[in-house]
């Protein structure tokens, strides 16, 4: 990939790249590439690609070669159809079939482009009509025909090509068809824009049609009939069988992309109702969030509440309408899912047939349920038979032929499994035949992209053999085995198995490519390059490194130095798995230390400068993991990584990379020096810009980074000036825990600035923060409580504001019953601030804050101690709270706080004791617990507040003593 030209890695049989993009030309040589390309491309590019397709009207002909091309032009489909129905000429039949397919494909393509242009629908009147016409030609009484009869229910055709009555057309329905297959009774079918389905049939009186949908939606008429009538599918497939082999091969590869294509388009666009759906879904997300908040506290914003409610209703209706679609094939993915999907790795998408989400919903073996097995199934079955019963020559031929199937397609993958091919392939690995092993692994490597197949391979004991194959003297075998392991080890049990059979050590050994390079180049036929071996090893380790024990195993096997060495190479496709592995492993403390020791950071930063987005992503991710450590953060800065990170922020198209980059920035900005650098590179402004319209993974990091940056005065001003506060406050209504923790932190950091605070207050941010105290996650609670502290400090009428939250104070006080230390500390801090207002102090006293605080006194957590002491000292200001603290035995434990090592605790405690010592009984307790000596020491402290408080406390005690003495003499 260079700047102006893009070539695909796949090449066709002539060695030409299947996809060649050189501005402004794009050449695409097969449909797989085309569909992939379209998926990758953004809307604008989509149009261009579509234009290409349009310019290239008869790609089918090009694919099939010149022979067919001429034929296509000369004869129209209809002509041949007639010929065939007359005579039994088999040759004609084949031709006809091809022509039919051509026309179908052409139609598909036309529809396709139509869809893009006019935002039309997947099935349109013309295509339906064509389908029906074609089937009509095939129906009749005889055994060979596919159907007995097919006819419209209505003879009248509207000008738009529909036959459905206008009031049904609104629902996207095109026409109704009566079909009489050979083996099933007459079916009444609705052809609608969304697909073809069985309706309620003709009612007896007046021949009215019951429009209710009765069955599943199919993508077109033929699919529907295949499903409904065994005879139909049999006859259809009979004709399919007669194709030339080539034809058969082409067909499956042509079709799937079309489906894939149709999916997104159809989604967004069916009719006006759908368009609103899109809008509503966004709102829906929002209203869901608010819904969570509503029950919490019935505060002032009732107007808003209503507004959300009305929105809430809409989407619910939508949901009802959407439900029927769900039951259909993969076309019916939610839009949100689609967006997510498109950001997923390309490979995932290319494994066409089964999207991940579909797999969750459907049981494993739907192949069996399907009576209509594709022709590939039988061919594969035959090949497996030869695999079983052939000598090595036959085996190799069968393997090579099997490899020619579209192994990325689920039908083929499952066919191999279902005819018992997996066992044979795995058994072949146990033989001595290098060629058979290579062939077998090549197939296993491809089909193991399928999650079901992975499990089957593990179940059949495939991993131990593959692990053993890693010892083979042939490098290409090692490579293939490692690559297959990389695919298979995508789930836990498999990773475990790899480790248990000693795979980790062997894989790590593969990384050591320098050592073996001295060997003479023997049997060059089966050899790959050392670098390739190491790459595959790294790939497998990457997969394996997702579980903790494996990370340990890799480290113990000495993987880190080897990874570090490989990191110094410059092969991009090698670096990705290497960095990927490091990134996975860096979640472990051990690794981070080792990474530092091996000077890996330097190389990570270097690779950040690469052009490869995936590599950038993984590097950033690794830095994100490692930058928990201060030294590492400094290293990133020293090697100039910060600038690159900041510049990578500008490209926001690749969300995964953006998430990784923002993550790295977040962690790096924990160091003050880095923050200064980021400001220099204008990263803060960019980050603020990223606060809207980004996926949550990105937002979490962006907000986290801003939270860190806002610890600095200048940055706080900057964030405010860039308008960062409103989006931050808006994010407070989210549901994502990690995001909320970061958002509250960032908002809290901003609130330190009175001016920012005004904005927050205006946006009702404090109320939102307060409502987060009800969040089920303790981390969120704590973070929200921390954020509230500066808010209360910096609001003008803080007391009034706090009181305006009905039930808010009670909520805070009740949080003192939590058992999470962080929550407690934060709530104590919040109480400290609340108690500064007399009226509020009175309210929380009524709510029983004193006994609750007293109960917490017995703790040895310094953070809690400090804030608790502060809270106590502030709460002493009301009524007989001082006495109450004494009664609830909070005083004695407080004295012990003075023995802590933390000067902050000392100060807070001294202040609390000073307040408490205003009460005589407390003085006695303080004195009894030996505070005087400790306090005397603290009088000598350099901290003025501490000095003062300690001295005040002593003076109170002393005064009491004097008074007692005086009383005695009197």
């Amino acid at each position: 990939m260079s700047e102006t030209t893009v070539k695909s890695e796949e090449v066709d049989e002539n060695g030409q790249p299947l996809l060649f993009l050189s501005v402004p030309h794009i050449k695409i040589r097969n449909f797989g590439q085309l569909s992939r390309f379209l998926l990758i491309a953004k809307d604008t590019k989509l149009k261009e690609a579509q234009a290409c397709v349009e310019a290239n009207r008869d790609p089918v002909a090009k694919i099939l070669g010149l022979d067919y091309n001429t034929m296509k032009e000369d004869t129209s489909t209809v002509n041949i159809l007639e010929e065939v129905t007359k005579g039994e000429d088999s040759e004609n039949e084949i031709k006809m079939k091809i022509a039919r397919l051509l026309s179908q494909l052409d139609l598909h393509l036309l529809n396709h482009s139509l869809k893009h242009i006019s935002l039309e629908i997947s099935l349109n009147p013309t295509s339906v009509k064509n389908d029906i016409e074609m089937l009509k030609n095939f129906s009749g009484k005889g055994e060979q025909t596919v159907l007995e009869s097919i006819s419209y229910t209505s003879d009248y055709e509207f000008s738009n090509g529909c036959r459905a009555p206008p009031w049904r057309q609104i629902h996207g329905e095109i026409c109704y068809v009566l079909v009489k297959p050979h083996d099933v009774e007459t079916l009444c079918i609705t052809c609608s824009a969304e697909g073809v389905f069985l309706n309620g049939g003709k009612t007896d009186n007046e021949g009215e049609i019951n429009y209710e949908r009765k069955g599943e939606i199919y993508k077109d008429l033929v699919t529907f009939l295949k499903e409904k009538s065994a005879k139909f599918s049999e006859n259809m497939s009979k004709q399919e069988k007669r194709f030339s082999n080539k034809k058969e091969k082409k067909e499956p590869t042509n079709e799937p992309p079309e489906k894939e294509e149709a999916a997104p388009v159809q989604k967004a666009i069916t009719g006006s109702g759908k368009r609103t759906l899109e809008k509503n879904q966004i709102n829906f997300g929002k209203s869901q969030m608010t819904k969570r908040l509503e029950p919490s506290l019935s505060w002032k914003a009732t107007v808003r509440f209503k507004e959300y409610r009305s929105l809430l209703r809409d989407p619910q209706e939508e949901k009802h309408r959407r439900r029927p679609e769900r039951s259909g094939p993969s076309v019916k993915l939610g839009r949100a899912q689609l967006v997510r999907k498109s950001t997923e790795k390309i490979e995932e998408i290319v494994s066409e047939s089964s999207s991940e989400s579909e797999e969750d919903e459907e049981p494993l073996d739907r192949q069996e349920a399907n009576a209509d097995l594709p022709s590939e199934y039988w061919q594969i079955q035959k090949l497996v038979k030869y695999l079983k019963g052939g000598n090595q020559t036959a085996t190799v031929i069968a393997l090579c032929s099997m490899k020619d199937f579209n192994l990325a397609q689920e039908t083929c993958q499952l066919a191999i499994r279902d005819v018992g091919g997996l066992e044979v392939l795995i058994n072949l690995l146990d033989t001595d035949e290098v060629k058979c092993k290579i062939g077998s692994l090549k197939i296993l490597k491809e089909i193991s992209h399928n999650p079901q197949i992975r499990r089957n391979i593990v179940d059949l004991g495939g991993l131990p053999v593959m692990v053993n194959t890693l010892d083979s003297p042939h490098k290409s075998l090692k490579c293939l085995a490692a690559e297959t392991i990389a695919n298979v080890a995508k789930f836990r049990r498999a990773r475990q198995a790899v480790r248990r059979y000693g795979g980790i050590t062997k894989l790590v050994a593969l990384l050591d490519c320098g050592k073996s390079s001295a060997e003479p180049a023997q049997s060059s036929l089966y050899d790959a390059r050392d670098v390739e071996v190491a790459r595959c090893g790294a790939l497998a380790l990457w997969s394996c490194s997702k579980s903790y024990t494996n990370k340990e195993a890799i480290r113990k096997a000495g993987g880190i130095p080897l990874l570090a060495r490989l990191l110094k190479t410059s092969h991009e496709n090698m670096l990705i798995p290497v960095v990927g592995t490091l990134q996975e492993c860096a979640s472990e403390e051990n690794y981070r230390a080792a990474i530092k020791a091996e000077r890996i950071i330097e190389n990570l930063v270097k690779n950040l400068n690469s052009e490869n987005e995936q590599l950038q992503e993984h590097c950033a991710m690794a830095i994100y993991q490692c930058a928990e450590d201060k030294e590492t953060r400094d290293l990133v800065r020293l090697h100039g990584g910060l600038k690159r990170l900041a510049s990578l922020l500008d490209n926001t198209d690749n969300k995964e990379r953006l998430a990784a980059v923002t993550g790295a920035i977040w962690k790096c900005s924990i160091s003050k020096e880095n923050v200064t650098k980021f400001r220099e590179y204008k990263a803060i402004e960019t980050l603020v810009g990223l606060l809207t319209d980004q996926p949550e993974e990105v937002l979490v990091n962006v907000v986290g980074a801003l939270g860190e940056c806002c610890q600095d005065y200048e940055n706080r001003v900057l964030v405010r000036k860039c308008g960062g506060i409103p989006p931050l406050v808006n994010l407070l209504v989210g549901v994502n825990q990690a995001l909320l923790v970061n958002v509250t932190k960032a908002v809290g950091a901003c609130a330190v600035e009175p001016e920012s605070m005004m904005i927050i207050d205006r946006l009702d941010g404090v109320r939102l923060l307060w409502s987060l105290l009800k969040n089920p996650h303790p981390e969120v609670k704590a973070s929200a409580a921390w954020a509230l502290c500066p808010c209360i400090q910096n609001t003008k009428d803080a007391g009034e504001m706090v009181r305006s939250f009905v039930g808010g104070l009670e909520l805070v006080v009740n949080l003192l019953k939590s058992d999470n230390k962080e929550v407690l500390a934060s709530v104590c801090a919040a109480i400290t601030n609340i108690a500064k207002d007399q009226e509020n102090l009175a309210v929380i006293t009524d709510r029983g804050v004193v006994p609750l605080l007293s109960k917490l006194a017995n703790t040895n957590n310094d953070k809690l101690r400090r804030h608790l002491a502060e809270a106590i000292s502030h709460c002493c200001m009301w009524g007989r709270n001082r006495v109450a603290f004494g009664e609830y035995k909070a005083v004695a434990p407080l004295v012990h706080y003075l023995k802590s090592d933390d000067p902050n605790v000392h100060r807070a405690t001294a202040q609390a004791l000073y307040q408490l010592s205003e009460d005589a009984d407390n003085c006695v307790t303080i004195h009894e617990n030996g505070a005087v000596k400790l306090l005397l020491d603290m009088v000598g402290s350099t901290d003025q507040d501490l000095q003062e408080a300690a001295a005040g406390c002593i003076s109170n005690i002393r005064r009491l003593a004097l008074a007692t003495e005086k009383a005695r003499y009197i």
């Binding site: 049989e13 020559t393 090579c400 032929s401 290098v434 003297p473 042939h474 060059s524």
Partner: protein, 212 residues
Amino acid sequence: MNRKKLQKLTDTLTKNCKHFNKFEVQCLINLFYNLVGDVTERQGMVTGLDRNAFRNILHMTFGMTDDMIMDRVFRGFDKDNDGCVNVSEWISGLSVFLRGTLEEKMKYCFEVFDLNGDGFISKEEMFHMLKNSLLKQPSEEDPDEGIKDLVEITLKKMDHDHDGKLSFSDYEQAVREETLLLEAFGPCLPDPKSEMEFEAQVFKDPNEFNDI
């Protein structure tokens, strides 16, 4: 044979052979004369390995079993078609056999598979070569059915110009796509293991070879 003559022979053969160094050529020459035995030379007859002796070597050393293929391999070695492999044929043959580049091996293999030498591997030839490749299943009516099918599969895979037979360019293209197809119709090259053993043995001490 005297030392001087041997030296000269080694030199010329080394010059003509790109995959072996001088030492290796010497070892192979020694091996050759060990296998042939000095007797034949003295009688003034053509020095070389005849068909049977050569097939014996292929079988014993390289584990080949298919008679027909072994015959073809012999013909592949025996460039001048005089019914026996002489020393220079021996060296140049082994050079491809053991160390040939992909191109050389393709050429060699194609010659082996092209039974009648007409430049094409025909369906009949394929059938002939593959006829023993499937386990005979008594249940099947026509035992040749599978073989025929296998031939069709192979053609589909390799016959790029769809003329029903494999030309060298068909074959070359298929092999370049998938190296595994190099020996598509039967093993005519040593498998890597026996090749390694052979080299290890010969280039260490050729005199011991006879004892195997």
